[in-house]
Symmetry: C2
């Protein structure tokens, strides 16, 4: 089976998001976006995997997050698995 794994990585609450602050300041500077209060910037990864079942895919995805993709000290992740065929 082939699967698509969508991983959303965000900074933990309390971690200073300098990139988000810069984006907020830019948008405020443009005018018309006074309603905007905060921007937090994260990452989004789409992985394509071949595996025998959804459980295997989730285990592999968790492993890849731990080994390379996510810094658990400052980031948190959310993983969604979609079967594509």
């Amino acid at each position: 089976m082939e699967y698509l794994v969508k991983i959303t990585i965000t900074l933990k609450q309390g971690v200073l998001d300098t990139q988000g602050k810069a984006v907020t300041a830019s948008l405020h500077g443009m005018g018309g976006y006074e309603a905007l209060q905060e921007v937090r910037v994260g990452r989004f990864l789409e992985l394509r995997l071949s595996a025998k079942d959804r459980g295997t895919v989730l285990t592999l995805a968790e492993g890849m997050c731990d080994d390379l993709l996510v810094n658990d000290l400052i980031e948190e992740r959310s993983i969604e698995v979609v079967e594509i065929r």
Copy 2:
């Protein structure tokens, strides 16, 4: 009302994703991830806004994407609006 807007930005199909290729190569180099076929790297933004209704929020979010956040030539976006209070 206060809203959370989740914006997922991905490279369009056909646009070369050098960052994704680098991540794929790193994971393959680690061993144990032969099941991985492709990684595409995108961005994820979380915006907090105060506005009177969901329609206003969506219009503002679309405007911010057009004005600053998304490069329509090579990227596509998906916008989700969540009422938080």
